[in-house]
Symmetry: C2
Subunit: 210 residues, 2 copies
Amino acid sequence: MSGAGQVKKANADSGAKPDAPRRSLAFAAGAPIYRIGAPGLAWRVERGSVRLDADGHSSEACFASLSLPGDIIGSESMLFGSYAFSASALTHCELSPWPEGAPAAEGNSLLRSLAASQRRAAELVALRGGEALKRVTGLIRIMAGAVSEDCTANVVLPTRKDIADITALRLETVSRIIKHLERSGMLHPVRVEGVHATRSFAVNFSQFAG
Amino acid sequence: MSGAGQVKKANADSGAKPDAPRRSLAFAAGAPIYRIGAPGLAWRVERGSVRLDADGHSSEACFASLSLPGDIIGSESMLFGSYAFSASALTHCELSPWPEGAPAAEGNSLLRSLAASQRRAAELVALRGGEALKRVTGLIRIMAGAVSEDCTANVVLPTRKDIADITALRLETVSRIIKHLERSGMLHPVRVEGVHATRSFAVNFSQFAG
DNA sequence: CGCATTTTTGATACACGTCAATCTCCGTGG
DNA sequence: CCACGGAGATTGACGTGTATCAAAAATGCG
């Protein structure tokens, strides 16, 4: 979603040995990664965030899942030969082919990604109920990842529209809430090269309620 | 949840050969199946519906997932040795140990249950956004399972409270919507032995909007 | 038959959705 | 360098779909 991101794909480590398989691919925020029904590989999200969309019966994509670093996406193609969801980059992200090692003897790896998938699904479910403020702060916490000792972290958020789709709110509501969090001092806009000024924040978790 | 269901467990096929492993276990509506943190097996839902709950930081369980016939639950215990969610019966249900065959060489089976888990998660996400009426009819459609040629099926629904937890609505809202569906002729109460009169319906899908 | 649980119904309030205008940020081209 | 235009974000005013609170009715069970 989020309209206009150009399809800038790039090989992340172009300096690698020529015979080695590609290590990872980078996608700009908003860029499509793969489309439902298309054939392709499974991927591991190395950095950034990815949005999965199910088949909205018309052309409008409907949000299905969120994937963060460590998550596996597109594994259904190993079974069906094609993707069951569309994927697009919520923020700048890097993916690497999965599984990386031997294709067999990965039973435990599958089990791990199954467990991870279920935990992520439970988090998503939680993000779509309860009051709007908690949904948005919940998403921010999940996307922030590692938090330093002083309860501080940096986040790059998706567009307001994408946050709205994830939390089942409206973009205007999300905008109001994020502005409110800024004014409360929980979020500080941070300018990062190449990232929209409205999407990169320093978060102060000590002020978070939950 | 739905409070009071007693813990009536029973071996479903008590007449089986004595040396054969247990085939399946039955649970009454509302009965707890296993608790988060406890050790145990993975199960396949054969009939009925199961609710999974994550760790609500106080004692109140918070809805995490819904499992229907064919779904695998508790597979995380194969990895961690204990359950990551609590499970309880939404309706009368039967479970059988999983995997049933040889414990190894199940790679494909894991892949299938991973794909199924992701599809189910996407359905759940869809049930928690949009207008209340569509959420409830969406859940009814999912729980109805097989639909006959004349667009008719039978469903046994969970309590209003459980439906509310699944759809992120309030129990009063759910009650109003179901009554509305009854009066519109989309739902007909059906009395079934052993099931609460307010939870068993014949559904007429031809009158459903979506 | 009487109690506990679940469901239904009503009245009212508010959080969020909706509609619409404006503003900021950026890239593009004159 | 500045005018222009588009995408995303912000803000305001207003409406409404659900939540909330409260009480009665139905259902199931001992």
